[in-house]
C-alpha cells in the first residue's frame, strides 16, 4: 500500500494552491526515464517507544529499479538509557535488532551506536523522549473540501483534537492506521497554536474508507530533530512546493539517512459510520 508523509504547520494553507495548480495542470503521462546509480548508503531506523522495547532496523539503499530489501545483518548495535543501562541488541530477524531490557520512559535520554560488520560504518545518535500529550477526541467525517475534476482531493477528513501544553515547544507525529495498516504519517509543531485546544487535520488523498472500518491514530511526542527529519520529507518533490529535492537531515552522525526517535505513544480508535 502506498503511504504518504504529509505535514503542514498551518493546516490546509496549501490546499488553495494545490487546487489552483491542479486546475491548470491535469495532463500526465508515463515516460521512459533512465536513472543514475549511486554507491549504497547505510539507512538507520531506530526508535524507543514509550513503555515498549527499543528496536533498530538497518538497511542499505538500492538502485531505483532493484528490490528494496537490502537489510544489514551482523552489526553491533548498542543502546544506553539515562539510568546507566547499556545493552547490545539482538538481531531477531535479518536487519532487525531488538532490546530485551530497555523500554521508553518520558523525559529520559537514550544513546545509540551502530558498528556494521567489518567496521564499514560506525554511527552514533542521541534522542530524548518529550513529555506525553494525549488525543482528546478523534473524528472522521466526509470531506467538505470541494471537488475538482482531475484533482485528487481527500474523500474523508480525519480530525485529531488535543490540548497543546503552553509551557514548552512541542513536536508531534501522528501515524494513522486503517484496519491495522499504516495509511499516513504526519508531523506537526505548535508554532501557530501553542497552548491551544488544537484540531489537526490528517490529509490523505489515497485513503479509502468504508463504513465499519476501524481508523486508529497514534500520537507521538517527538524531539525537534525527529520532527525536522520527517518535515523535510513533506517539502520534497511536491507539485506545489517545487523541486527542492534533498535528503532530510538525519540526527544520526555518521549516516546520511535515517533517524533515531525516542517518543511517547497514545492511541485512539474510531469506527467509520
Amino acid at each position: 500500500m502506498k503511504t504518504s508523509t504529509k505535514s503542514n504547520s498551518v493546516n490546509g494553507l496549501f490546499i488553495p494552491f494545490m487546487m489552483l495548480a491542479a486546475i491548470l495542470t491535469s495532463c500526465t503521462e508515463t515516460i521512459e526515464f533512465e536513472f543514475d546509480t549511486a554507491a549504497s548508503q547505510l539507512v538507520v531506523e531506530a526508535f524507543v517507544p514509550e513503555s515498549q522495547y527499543a528496536e533498530v532496523i538497518l538497511s542499505k539503499t538500492v538502485n531505483i529499479n532493484d528490490n528494496n530489501k537490502n537489510l544489514v545483518s551482523n552489526a553491533l548495535v548498542v543502546l544506553q538509557d539515562g539510568f546507566g543501562t547499556s545493552e547490545t541488541l539482538q538481531e531477531v530477524s535479518p536487519g532487525r535488532y531488538r532490546s530485551n531490557k530497555i523500554k521508553g520512559v518520558p523525559g529520559s535520554s537514550y544513546s545509540l551506536s551502530v558498528q556494521t560488520e567489518g567496521n564499514v560504518s560506525f554511527v552514533k545518535s542521541e534522542d530524548r523522549m518529550p513529555k506525553p500529550v494525549f488525543i482528546n477526541r478523534l473524528r472522521v467525517r466526509e470531506s467538505i473540501i470541494p471537488e475538482v475534476e482531475g484533482v485528487k482531493m481527500p474523500d474523508w477528513e480525519v480530525i485529531v483534537e488535543y490540548t497543546d501544553p503552553e509551557d514548552e515547544v512541542n513536536y508531534y507525529r501522528f501515524v494513522e492506521y486503517v484496519n491495522g495498516k499504516v495509511t499516513i504519517s504526519y508531523v506537526e509543531n505548535d508554532k501557530f497554536n501553542n497552548g491551544k485546544d488544537n484540531k489537526s487535520f490528517l490529509t490523505c488523498v489515497d485513503r479509502k474508507l468504508s463504513k465499519g472500518d476501524t481508523l486508529t491514530v497514534e500520537m507521538q511526542s517527538i524531539s525537534k530533530a525527529v520532527y525536522d527529519y520527517f518535515y523535510a520529507f513533506s517539502t520534497m518533490n511536491d507539485l506545489v512546493q517545487g523541486t527542492n529535492t534533498t535528503n532530510p537531515i538525519s540526527n544520526i552522525s555518521g549516516a546520511n539517512l535515517g533517524y533515531f526517535s525516542a517518543h511517547t505513544v497514545h492511541r485512539r480508535s474510531v469506527v467509520v459510520e
Binding site: L13, P16, T28, A38, N68, F233, N237, L239, T246
Partner: protein, 773 residues
C-alpha cells in the same frame, strides 16, 4: 583592476569641465500622429561626422555647437529620418515630430538614409522592443505579451511553461529590476505565470539591459527591464480594444489640451471563471478565478519648460471558492514626474514613486479559519539632471532615495480560531544613492559611457534583530524606531565602450558591478505563486553583488537589412542565497538562520541575426551558456548547475506579410532541459519507499520545444474604425513539454519505479478581435 577603472572614471569626469560651446539647439522628439515621445533617437550633425547624442527617456535632446550653419539629422528606428537646416547664431528650441516609415519606404533600395542604429549606439547587452513591432507575434490565448517576447531574445529565457519569471544571463528571476514608469514591479505575472502584468494596450516600449545598465538604474544584480507606458495620444481621441476567448481589453486615450497634454486609461480583465461556469462540475462553476489590470496615465505641458506626468497601475489576481477559501495578490504602482528645462542644455526630472505588492490567503473551513497576509512596498524619490555639454557629450547626475518596508507575514485569526494571531516583525530599510555618468566621444569613432553609483543601504529598527552562527541563534538585539541596525556602502561601476569600425561594423564592450539589497526566498520553485518571502540585507544576509564583463561584435549587411550581433559575457555573482535542506520558511521569524550563502558564475555566447525590414522580417537568436552555483552545505560545496542552467537556447521569430491585410507569423523555440534533482537510489523508512538523492541538479528535464503560429487579418475599415482578427495556435504541433516529473512505485511490480510526467498544454488555438477608432 577596479582601481584602474576608478582612475579612468575620474579622468572622464574631469574632462567634462573642459568642455565649452556657444549655442544650443534643443527640443523634444515626438511621433507626429499621436504625440508619443521618442526616447533614444539619435541626433547627429552632418557637417561634423562622428558626433551625436541620443534623446533621453522623455524624448528631450540638446546639442551645443559653435556658431554656424548645420544640417541636423534625427534617426529613430521605424521612423522616417528627419533633416533640419539650421543657422545657429542663438539658442534654438526645435521640437521634432517624426513620421512612421511608410510601408513602401521599408523596401530597402529606395530609402536614402542609413538604418544602422545598432552599429552606432553605445548599447551593448541591451534589447529594445516596441509594442507596435511585436503585435504580429503569435501569443498565448491571443494576449500580446512584451515579457514573453523579450524571452525570445538571446540571453533572456524563461524556464519551461507556466513560469513567467525571466532568467537573464544566468541570474535568478528575483535579480531583475522590473520597472513600470520607474516604479518597481515585484511580481510581474498573473495566473501562475501564464500572463504578464503588462497590458500591451497601455505599454509603449520595453528596454532590457542584460548587462551594463546606465548608472541611473540599480538595485538588482542581473538585469533591468524598463517598461514605459504610453503617454496617450495628444492629437485626437483614440479607442483601442480587443475581445478574446479568456480576456478582453479596452483603452481610451486622447488630448487634454491638444499638443500640450494627454491621458490614457487602459483596462484588461480575464474571465477564466466564466469558462468554469460552462463546465459540468457544479463545485467548479461557482469559483472565482480571474485577474484584472488597470493602467492610467496623464501628462501636461504647463509651459515649454515644465511638463508633469502622473501614472498609476493596479492589477490583482483572485481565486476563491465561496465559503471555503480565497486567495488574492497584486501589484500597485503610482508615479509622479516633473520635467524641468533649466536652460537649453540642462534638463532635470524629479520623480516621486510608490509601489507595493501583497498577497492574502483566507481559509474559512473548519478547523482552519484564518487569514495570512504578506507584503512589500517602497517609496522612492529621485532627482536627476541631464546636462548636454557639447555636440557629443551628455552628463548625468542624480540622487535616489528608496525606502523599503516588508511585512513578512501575518496570521489573522479570531479568539475561537485554532491558531494564535501572529505577526512576523516588519522590516524597514532605506537606500540612498548618488550617481553620475558621462557619455562622450574621445575620438570620432569611439563612444564611452562611464558611470558610478554610490549606494548606501541602512536597515532600521524598530524590532528584534538576530545574529546566527552556523545556523544557531547567537545574539538578539532590540532596536528602537529609526535606530540603525546595519549599514552597507556599495560603490558600483558602469562602463560601456563602442568602437565604430565603419558604418556597418562595430565592436562594443562593457564592465559593470551591481548590488542588490532586496532578496527573495522562493517557497515554490516550480509554479509562479505569489507566496515568496522577501527580505533585506542585514546582520546575516549580505548584499548580493555581481561583476559582469561583456564583449560584442556587430555587423550589418545589404543596406542594414540584415543585422548581426554576437556577444560574449562572463558574470560572477557573490553572496548568493539558498535555503537549507528541509527548512521551514513559512511565517518563520528566524528564517535568516535557515539560509545558506555561496557564489555563482555564468558565462555564455549570444548570437542574433535580425531582419528588420521587408515583407519577411524577424530574428534568429541563439544562446550557448553555463550557469553554476557553489554553496557550502549543498552538494558538498562543489559547483553544480543552477536550476536555470540551459545549455542551448534557440528562438526563431518570423513575420510574413502575405498581402496588405494579411500577416502570418511563427515562432519556434528550442531549449536544453534545465537542471533538476532526481533520485539515484531508494530505501525504506517505516515500510515506505523513500528516494535517495545523490547530486544536486544532476539530471536534466527533457528538452523543451514549441511552435506557435499566428495570422492577423485586417478587416475593411469604415471611416476611422479599424478592426482585425487574430488567430493563433500556441504549441501548434502539441509537443508535450514536461512541467514536472514525479516518481511512483509501479502498481504491479513494487520494485520498479515509474516516471510520470505532467505537462500543461497541448495545442491551444485562440481567436481575438481587435478594434481601433
Amino acid at each position: 583592476m577596479k582601481f584602474f577603472i576608478d582612475i579612468l572614471f575620474l579622468l572622464i569626469f574631469v574632462s567634462v569641465l573642459g568642455a565649452q560651446n556657444k549655442y544650443a539647439i534643443s527640443g523634444t522628439i515626438t511621433d507626429k500622429v499621436n504625440g508619443e515621445t521618442l526616447a533614444g533617437a539619435a541626433v547627429t550633425v552632418n557637417e561634423l561626422p562622428g558626433t551625436g547624442i541620443s534623446s533621453n527617456t522623455y524624448g528631450y535632446y540638446a546639442l551645443s555647437l559653435p556658431e554656424g550653419k548645420y544640417t541636423i539629422r534625427v534617426n529613430y528606428l521605424g521612423y522616417e529620418t528627419v533633416e533640419l537646416e539650421i543657422n545657429l547664431n542663438q539658442n534654438i528650441r526645435r521640437d521634432i515630430r517624426m513620421e512612421v516609415l511608410a510601408t513602401d519606404l521599408r523596401e530597402v533600395d529606395v530609402y536614402p538614409f542609413k538604418r544602422n542604429d545598432n552599429i552606432l549606439l553605445n548599447n551593448i547587452g541591451s534589447e529594445k522592443l516596441l509594442v507596435s513591432e511585436i503585435k504580429n507575434i503569435p501569443v498565448f490565448f491571443g494576449e500580446q505579451d512584451i515579457m514573453k517576447t523579450i524571452s525570445l531574445t538571446p540571453g533572456a529565457t524563461s524556464v519551461r511553461d507556466g513560469n513567467n519569471g525571466i532568467y537573464v544571463r544566468g541570474g535568478g528571476n528575483d535579480q531583475n529590476l522590473i520597472l513600470l514608469d520607474e516604479a518597481i514591479v515585484y511580481h510581474p505575472n498573473h495566473l501562475l505565470g501564464f500572463f504578464s502584468t503588462f497590458n500591451s494596450d497601455a505599454i509603449k516600449e520595453m528596454t532590457l539591459y542584460k548587462g551594463t545598465a546606465p548608472a541611473s538604474y540599480g538595485g538588482r544584480i542581473s538585469s533591468v527591464m524598463d517598461i514605459r507606458m504610453k503617454d496617450g495620444n495628444n492629437q485626437s481621441l483614440e479607442v483601442n480594444g480587443g475581445i478574446g476567448l479568456i480576456s478582453s481589453r479596452l483603452a481610451v486615450e486622447g488630448p487634454i489640451v491638444k499638443d500640450r497634454g494627454s491621458f490614457i486609461v487602459a483596462g484588461r480583465r480575464t474571465y477564466v471563471d466564466m469558462l468554469l461556469k460552462l463546465t459540468n462540475d457544479p463545485s467548479l462553476s461557482n469559483n472565482t478565478l480571474n485577474f484584472y489590470d488597470l493602467n492610467a496615465k496623464m501628462n501636461f505641458k504647463i509651459n515649454p519648460k515644465n511638463q508633469v506626468f502622473i501614472s498609476a497601475y493596479s492589477g490583482r489576481d483572485a481565486f476563491a471558492v465561496p465559503g471555503r477559501f480565497g486567495l488574492a495578490w497584486g501589484n500597485r504602482t503610482a508615479s509622479f514626474r516633473w520635467n524641468h528645462i533649466w536652460q537649453d542644455k540642462l534638463f532635470s526630472n524629479t520623480s516621486i514613486i510608490y509601489s507595493d505588492f501583497d498577497y492574502e490567503v483566507d481559509l474559512a473551513f473548519e478547523p482552519s479559519a484564518f487569514s495570512v497576509l504578506s507584503g512589500i512596498k517602497n517609496v522612492n524619490f529621485r532627482h536627476e539632471f541631464n546636462y548636454f555639454i557639447s555636440e557629443n557629450s551628455r552628463f548625468m547626475l542624480g540622487y535616489d532615495m528608496l525606502s523599503h518596508n516588508i511585512t513578512p507575514g501575518q496570521l489573522i485569526a479570531d479568539e475561537n480560531a485554532i491558531v494564535h494571531p501572529m505577526k512576523i516583525q516588519e522590516r524597514n530599510g532605506r537606500e540612498q544613492t548618488i550617481y553620475v555618468s558621462n557619455e562622450f566621444r574621445p575620438a570620432p569613432n569611439w563612444i564611452f559611457n562611464a558611470g558610478i553609483r554610490l549606494n548606501t543601504f541602512r536597515l532600521y529598527g524598530p524590532g528584534d534583530f538576530y545574529k546566527y552562527e552556523n545556523g544557531m541563534l547567537s545574539e538578539t538585539i532590540t532596536y528602537t524606531k529609526k535606530e540603525i541596525v546595519k549599514s552597507y556602502f556599495s560603490p558600483e561601476r558602469r562602463l560601456n565602450i563602442t568602437h565604430i569600425i565603419n558604418p556597418v561594423q562595430s565592436v562594443k564592450m562593457s564592465y559593470s558591478t551591481h548590488t542588490q539589497h532586496i532578496h527573495k526566498i522562493t517557497a515554490t520553485e516550480n509554479l509562479s505563486l505569489p507566496v515568496d518571502i522577501w527580505m533585506m540585507s542585514g546582520n546575516n544576509v549580505k548584499p548580493q553583488t555581481s561583476d559582469l564583463f561583456s564583449f560584442g561584435y556587430f555587423r550589418n549587411k545589404q543596406n542594414d537589412m540584415y543585422q548581426f550581433a554576437a556577444e560574449a559575457y562572463y558574470k560572477l555573482m557573490h553572496d548568493q542565497i539558498d535555503v537549507k535542506n528541509g527548512a521551514d520558511v513559512m511565517a518563520n521569524q528566524h528564517i535568516e538562520g535557515e539560509l545558506l550563502f555561496g557564489k555563482g558564475r555564468s558565462y555564455g555566447l549570444e548570437l542574433m541575426l535580425k531582419k528588420k525590414y521587408g515583407k519577411l522580417n524577424g530574428w534568429i537568436g541563439y544562446t550557448l551558456s553555463r550557469t553554476e552555483l557553489s554553496i557550502p552545505g549543498i552538494n558538498n560545496g562543489n559547483w553544480y548547475p543552477a536550476r536555470q542552467d540551459i545549455t542551448n537556447d534557440l528562438s526563431i521569430v518570423g513575420m510574413y506579410e502575405l498581402s496588405k491585410n494579411l500577416t502570418m507569423s511563427a515562432t519556434w523555440v528550442y531549449q536544453t532541459g534545465n537542471a533538476v534533482t532526481f533520485p539515484s537510489g531508494k530505501y525504506e523508512i517505516n515500510g515506505e519507499t523513500k528516494y535517495y538523492f545523490n547530486e544536486r541538479n544532476g539530471y536534466r528535464m527533457p528538452d523543451y520545444h514549441r511552435l506557435d503560429l499566428g495570422l492577423t487579418w485586417n478587416l475593411k475599415s469604415k471611416g476611422k474604425y479599424r478592426g482585425n482578427l487574430n488567430f493563433s495556435v500556441y504549441n501548434a504541433y502539441a509537443r508535450k513539454n514536461a512541467f514536472s516529473i514525479d516518481f511512483e512505485q509501479d502498481a504491479t511490480n513494487p520494485d520498479k519505479t515509474i516516471a510520470v510526467m505532467t505537462y500543461l498544454f497541448s495545442a491551444i488555438p485562440s481567436i481575438t478581435y481587435n478594434f481601433k477608432f
